[in-house]
């Protein structure tokens, strides 16, 4: 069993109209079974409303499954005595940087999680220093989060999770509200945490360029996992991705269009260098 395992996970909620009458049942997550290995960098792609955020909340015991089971590091999320351990094991970063920062000083914000799990004072300071250095925000430790850019706030939020020493971090569209440079910083930090600290990363996003360096990709649509594989396996299915209203890298799209126009280019071009190699091969 990997660090995160779900079996037939289903989540339904009841829609009500203004008077509180039941309008219908929406299945947000539909029979998802997957197994994520410790130390992996996993991406979950899907457009808005595909159920990926609801799925993410299950991994942190913020939501309990209607049917099926979720295990985080072997702990069943339905068993309440594990809730705090689960939340410490798989930390969660949300989309809006403003709405997840609780304290008014960067260092206090990072210390909030360790305080909650009862870490002794001296150790909290150590954790905070280490975590802030890991995300490159140490020199802002005395600053107010309100004065930071979106990308910097998101890095502080990540530090706040790292300070709890989780084995796994789940990020729900952490870059959706950031500009390109902030986005790049956040993704680079996630890869560094994954490589250096061996933290499992589960990145939920709809930006395909953030997915290219992942170990494994799941694509969700209407609550189901509809595609699964390495980024190369996913992005070469240009037709299917377009059908799901998702982007592919422009170089893959160029290669795909060239193939459609009759050039014998192999499938699976993900980088500029690969495109050049293919074109050279064709020219002979």
């Amino acid at each position: 069993m990997g660090i995160i395992k779900t079996e037939n996970l289903t989540f339904e909620y009841i829609r009500r109209d203004d008077e509180g009458n039941v309008e219908g049942i929406t299945t947000a997550v539909d029979d998802v079974s997957l197994d994520i290995q410790a130390g992996d960098f996993v991406a979950i792609l899907g457009h808005n409303g595909s159920g990926k955020s609801t799925f993410a909340k299950h991994l942190n015991a913020l939501v309990a499954p209607t049917e099926g089971t979720v295990w985080v590091d072997g702990m069943d999320t339905k068993e309440e005595e594990h809730t705090l351990d689960i939340r410490q094991t798989s930390g969660m970063v949300f989309q809006n940087p403003d709405n997840q920062i609780i304290c008014t000083l960067v260092e206090e914000e990072v210390g909030f999680g360790p305080e909650n799990i009862g870490v002794p004072t001296d150790e909290i300071w150590e954790c905070v220093e280490k975590s802030l250095k890991a995300v490159g925000m140490y020199r802002f430790r005395k600053a107010s989060p309100n004065k930071l850019s979106g990308g910097q706030k998101q890095r502080v939020a990540i530090a706040g999770i790292v300070a709890m020493k989780p084995k796994c971090i789940v990020l729900d569209e952490p870059t959706a509200m950031l500009d390109p440079s902030g986005r790049k910083d956040v993704i680079n930090i996630l890869h560094a945490l994954n490589k250096q600290e061996n933290v499992t990363i589960i990145l939920i996003t709809h930006y395909m360029e953030e997915v290219i360096d992942a170990d494994h990709v799941f694509v969700m649509d209407e609550g189901k996992v509809v595609m699964e594989g390495t980024p190369r396996q996913i992005f070469t299915q240009v037709d299917k991705m377009k059908e799901l209203h998702l982007d592919v890298p422009q170089v893959t799209e160029v290669a795909y269009e060239l193939r459609m126009k009759g050039l014998p280019i192999n499938q699976g071009v993900l980088t500029n260098a690969e495109l050049i190699a293919e074109l050279k091969r064709i020219q002979g």
Partner: protein, 281 residues
Amino acid sequence: MSIIADHINYTYEIGTGFERQAIKDISFVIEDGEFIGLIGHTGSGKSTLIQHLNGLVKATSGTVYYNGQDIYDKDYDLKTLRSKVGLVFQYPEHQLFETDIFKDVCFGPKNLGLPKMEVELRAFEALRMVGLEENLYYQSPFDLSGGQKRRVAIAGVLAMKPEVLILDEPTAGLDPKGRDDILECLRYLKEETGMTIILVSHSMEDVAKYVNRIMVMNDGVLMYDDTPKNIFTHYRELEEIGLAAPQVTYIMNDLKNAGFDVNTGAITVDEAVESIMASVR
């Protein structure tokens, strides 16, 4: 018929010790019917700049002329200007407040003091232009998806029948489908009404595909003001200020360096494919 910015400067919070110059000596002319991309990283001053164009922010020095008139003249009617230069803010869905979508879109034209008939006609027209399904018109705006809400908010500005439409990062936070819907809606608007559109964005791919002129801002200064093709030849300088050219520019430059005779000025996938096909034949 145009917008002219004449050496405008803007400084924040004068006299508080937190002074910061957000706009530094910017001048430009925007002609009727242009589709402009305004690019810059967060804090480069682009949001402040667009608020000058409809008089929400007054320049510390310099002047803005709309259709030849100085908007800082004492008897100039700013309210009319705001209906002529429509401004859609970032995350505009956060300004929706009415119980149903149609009423919300009526808010703008109603503020102009138009007769009820005209107000409703305009609201219908605006909702049609953003492509919202008619069965949704009388539903609560809060039940819509993110992309739909945003189109309603844009309709709220369109209903004022602006001659110029400025949108501050209209695709921020949307998924690829929501983003494409909004951009296609802008393209349609452009073709249908011929209005001037200024699109503030930090996505080069979005901008490259649609606009015919790009203005690049950095640290309060207007750094470049040119056609997309010419702008993206400066891709190294763009990287230095935290921006990037579209991925296609990089593909074409890499191909050129690898000895292929391709057009490095291609900025969309279609142009790239065409140029590569021509070079390998």
